[in-house]
Subunit: 247 residues, 2 copies
Amino acid sequence: MAQGERDHAELLKRAPIFADVSERTLKRLATAATVVSCARGDVLFEAGADPDYLHILVDGTVQLATGTPDGREAVVEIIRPVDAFIMAAVLTSQPFLMSAKAVEPSRLLLIPGKAIREQVGADPKLALTMLGSMARQYRAMVRQIKDLRLRTATQRLGTYLLRLIESRGEGERVVLPYDKKLVAARLDMKPESLSRAIHALRVHGVEVADNEVHITDVEELREFCKVDRVLDRLEEDLSTLINSRRR
Amino acid sequence: MAQGERDHAELLKRAPIFADVSERTLKRLATAATVVSCARGDVLFEAGADPDYLHILVDGTVQLATGTPDGREAVVEIIRPVDAFIMAAVLTSQPFLMSAKAVEPSRLLLIPGKAIREQVGADPKLALTMLGSMARQYRAMVRQIKDLRLRTATQRLGTYLLRLIESRGEGERVVLPYDKKLVAARLDMKPESLSRAIHALRVHGVEVADNEVHITDVEELREFCKVDRVLDRLEEDLSTLINSRRR
């Protein structure tokens, strides 16, 4: 491989879906890939566009949002490195359902949809890994629907903070990974509602100072948010699970 | 194959994900499968349970719902024959996120999770078909989040009716596929709100008499619901698309 391709391959391997693929598949994807950098506020694609590239976020933060023709918008997912996004559209050649915007300076690897679809067809292990990843993404959407339908805004914030703490290990303190306005948008709240929710959570074991969160009473917060530890936990990429079950 | 297995195989082939699998895979799945019948109101499994079987609904109607420990519930999906459900949990061996209940007398084929995972690992074509199906299910969840966040209850009902009409072809009349109470639950509405929404839609080109819906002005209804024809349309199972792109 040339140096550029080797660099691409190194970046690709940091994405969970490509961590275990064969050298052959990795080389083909790396050859087809392009690196792009973008500024804060840049739109990567609009909803309705043809899914030209699988996007892999290498640095930065990207938001995915749905919208209506009258211009209203809802932030559905916030992507952090290193992760592939918009896989469902690319695999099935269907128009993007969401628009993507860089919310800070970001760097991405773009793999042409055709190259991905060919490799998924040619490499059964990649197909299985993608299947595990799609299953995780589906389950994350089911959890989001549950949050929207069965939890108040304050409970959604509490549940979000619990997931954040659990995903970072076992500590009680964590720094919000992006600004509060974006946290509010992701949780279907106005920024002023977020301030009220932060205040309301003080009696349920949460202290927030600037962007630092201290959960002083995890059990109380779980009880208040009606959180089930298994069902409401966010899952890591499940690709390895699918593979391990084949034995 | 014995007669029982041949019957199972015939039923399996009616599910989009198994329509194109090889005879060998079909035989293995049919051998492992069991048919069960259940009465209206029977619970098939609870959220949190281990995903023992992939469920394929052959006759009847099944609802999938999430819930909180204090007993509140939200109906997320309503399954109609012939369709496989709860695929994400079974493929990844993760606990069911939703409970399943038969809302009318139903008949199902159950395939042990282990048999499905083995065949998905052994048959690359099955893996691709499942990947297409998971992608469709993911996209349906994104659309549901959009409906919940950007549409009023009345617009959600209008969007639901437009999808119903489109999925049945090009007519203007359609019969609700299940009772109004279930439609309301699926759309995150109380039954009394559904009555109000039906009334409110009369000036936007919809007449509902009992369970029969007549859309008298599709364009007006689309405009009122802020529906984008491509983005808001429900997709058929996309498995065939993935395969066609491999050429």
